[in-house]
Amino acid sequence: MKRRKLDLAQVPANIGKGADDRYQVATPLRALLNKVFPDHWSFLLGEIALFSFIVLLLSGVFLTLFFDPSMREVTYDGPYTALRGVEMSAAYESSLRLSFEVRGGLFMRQMHHWAALLFMASIVVHMARVFFTGAFRKPREANWTIGIILFLLGFFAGFTGYSLPDDGLSGTGLRIASAIMLSIPVVGTWLSAAVFGGEYPGELIIGRFYIAHVLLIPGGLLALISVHLGLVFKQKHTQWPGPMRTNDNVVGERMFPRYALKQGGFFMAVFGTVALLAGLFQINPIWLFGPYLASAVSSASQPDWYVMFMDGLVRLMPAWQIDFPIGDGYVLPPLFWPAVVGLGALFTLPMLYPTIEARRLKDTKSHHILQRPRDAPERTGVGAMAFTFFMIATISGANDVIADKFHISLNAMTWAGRIGLVILPPLAYVISVRICLGLQQHDREVLAHGVETGIIRRLPDGRFEEVHQPLGPVDEHGHPLPLDYAGWVVPKKMNRVGALGPAIKGFFFPIEKPAEAPVSPAVPPVSGSTREEIISGR
């Protein structure tokens, strides 16, 4: 029998042929390899969320192998002596075992928690980027809505997650969650009884939260993230205005090899950040809090940062109880407003924003070019207002810690938060709108008159004036011809127009020595022979 010779060089070609015979992939694969992505650092914020989600899935699967989602009472008998002999739930006991008796378990637990914080943080920053640049406009309204739902799902994933260890802190969070459910008119007690399987806390809640945390919510996140990315892929990414860039094209790099490689490197950097955080910074030391007891709580009981705004709103709410004197009487507790209405509004208002803005501006066009925040002052103002509100609420979520550390009266902190929540957001709106208009005006000024050089010249009649470097052509008198604003950065310093060229960067040190700085500010910078000294415009 003749032995077939294996030609190694032909293997990829043969595999390719075989695959195309069966799946007809050559054309779509080429389109995929060639797809062009625009590049800007701010487009990578959402990637951080995606990459932390992958870290969450990986570390989370590890944790499930050791965690026991049960509220069965057991007695601790592990190496942590301070809790030995203490009655606790199996969930708490297995979390302690995971931290102390599983090799690398604490590291994985901390990695999971830090990745969750990073996930939520990058979602918020990514959302801010999308908002302030107007990337949510038609045709991307659906993706904006999906993004908000992703934050909401992440919020519940985080809450169910830190409730699972059943330590003193997480039990307190659960208790508050039950109170929030109870505050809902008419169905409150029924809802709480359904979730907890009867009276709080019951014996079912950890098991129910577990299945929500490891299956239902991650499933929802995974599905929506897929749709989110699919839509970005289909609609193609927005881009900043710039040379060659129009509303109908995408200017950037093809996905392979450079863009995809950069993404891979960035993923590793995000992963490395989470690993460093997990190794070096302790997070949620559950053994210090002890098992959950309905009668015990410590001060400085703060939730994870993305829940703090809600806790802050709950703290700031005045004790306005509404009574309905019908029959035996009915009550609407003050907790209902910040926790249920507040949370609802914080999610529905942003969802409605694209529609509101489009209707107000009567804007039905599709936009693929981003706007600088200064070019949409009102939107920027609304965003600044929302973020000020969020920040004050978040800070108020830690007002007891601030009061303690800075020796401020707790009641004063609460009142400062209440007043700040009403006064500061509108103030932030006004200030940011003014700043935007000022920046716009300065851009136009530079386009009309040129860059300020810092060189003062005395005219023959004794007047002083500053020399401006025109950015474009000049008329016969040497005055710059006004330029149109193109929606992108206007150079405002001489360095930006090449007065002092940047050094060519090397790996660790420059390949080329930077041009020498001028000795005296009066002597204009010179590098090479092509630049002319700035002299009198006459």
Partner: protein
């Protein structure tokens, strides 16, 4: 490979790739890049700039970058190896006190972090420093489908509806509504029905009863006990002091009776007189104090945290979760913060042996407020 191509760009609309002319890909004279560019052209992509960042192949600068990237890969590998070695050999079991095992998690974090960062930077440097700089323009293809296509698809969908003929056959419409709606309910029923619990069921509805209720104990009054179950005498609480007490029944201090933890306060003479005057004028709390002792539910009426910070000087009780403050000497009336309802008072008595018992259950609902609270 260096290609710079200027001009024939800056236009919108169709065919950004039209800047380059179609070529015959079977032409043996074509370089591989020519074929790649033809592929890009067919995807309406124009490769405007594609130029190496180095002058010539194997320049000194390029070699140095390659060396540095290789170094990063090697650092990554070494750190990963260190991670595995430390993972195996470093003492890791928790021990009390300052031991080597304290450094286990930080060492894992640092080695893995260095490894991943070095790998990440190696890949990033590869992409940013070694690969040619590129500017490509792709047509966005964001024009809506043609009017004809829209018409065809719309008509096709309308045709589907026509064919089903639901509009023409009202009987079917009704039958579907009547016949299918219950099936939808049947799908929802197990989930919703299984979860629903009546919060007001039984003789002892959960919202209004705690472990201090004597009825389930055959009418025997329930002792106030410490966490270990031992009953409390008046002299166990010093003047101005307070302790947390639980119902003296099996599991009374466990989370099964999460609504029962109670704060027993021994007021000073003057404060007690004030508190007594306030409680005697109240129609619910009348006669609930015992001497200078008063007991309030520890579960905050706002969000259910234990309101456990007692400030002796001002007789205020502070809930550490949302800073509601209650005045002990005035029926635990809320005086600051988001709580709108006072803490319920537990009626106190002494049994024959001189231990505290609850004269009855709380007369007001315990814990966070809810809609149907009378």
């Amino acid at each position: 490979m260096t290609v710079t191509h200027e001009g024939s760009h800056g236009h919108g609309g169709h065919g950004s790739g039209s800047g380059t002319k179609p070529v015959d890909v079977n032409d043996p004279k074509l370089s591989r890049f020519d074929i790649v560019r033809e592929g890009a052209r067919r995807d309406d992509i124009e490769i405007v700039t594609y130029e190496s960042q180095f002058e010539g192949r194997n320049s000194k600068a390029e070699k140095r970058v390659v060396r540095n990237i290789s170094l990063l890969f090697i650092i990554s590998g070494l750190a990963a190896l260190a991670f595995v070695v430390f993972f195996i050999v470093w003492p890791w079991k928790f021990e009390l006190g300052h031991t080597l095992s304290d450094y286990y998690t930080p060492i894992l974090g640092i080695t893995l972090g260095i490894s991943l960062f070095a790998l990440g930077f190696a890949i990033l440097a590869w992409a940013k420093k070694l690969l040619p700089h590129e500017v490509s323009i792709q047509d966005r293809h964001n024009q809506p489908s043609s009017d004809e296509d829209r018409l065809i698809t719309g008509q096709t969908m309308a045709y589907l509806v026509d064919e089903l003929g639901v509009q023409r056959r009202p009987l079917l419409k009704g039958a579907i509504a009547l016949g299918m709606a219950p099936l939808g309910l049947a799908a929802a029923a197990p989930l919703i029905g299984g979860l629903i619990e009546n919060p007001h069921k039984g003789d002892e509805p959960m919202m209004y009863h705690t472990g201090f209720d004597p009825v389930p104990q055959d009418g025997k009054l329930v002792h106030l006990t410490r966490e270990d179950g031992s009953p409390v005498r008046p002299e166990d609480v010093s003047v101005g002091g307070q302790i947390t007490v639980f119902p003296g029944i099996p599991g009374g201090a466990s989370n099964k009776y999460a609504d029962s933890p109670t704060l027993l306060v021994h007021l000073r003479e003057q404060d007690a007189a004030e508190a007594r005057a306030a409680s005697e004028t109240d129609k619910v709390n009348k006669g609930f104090m015992h001497g200078n002792y008063v007991a309030y539910s520890k579960i905050c009426t706002h969000a259910g945290c234990p309101a456990s910070l007692y400030e002796q000087q001002t007789n205020r009780l502070l809930c550490p979760c949302h800073q509601s403050q209650f005045l002990i000497t005035d029926n635990a009336r809320p005086i600051f913060g988001p709580a709108s309802r006072r803490l319920p008072m537990l009626p106190l008595e002494l049994d024959d042996e001189g231990y505290f018992v609850a004269a009855s259950d709380y007369r007001e609902a315990i814990g966070p407020d809810f809609w149907e609270r009378p």
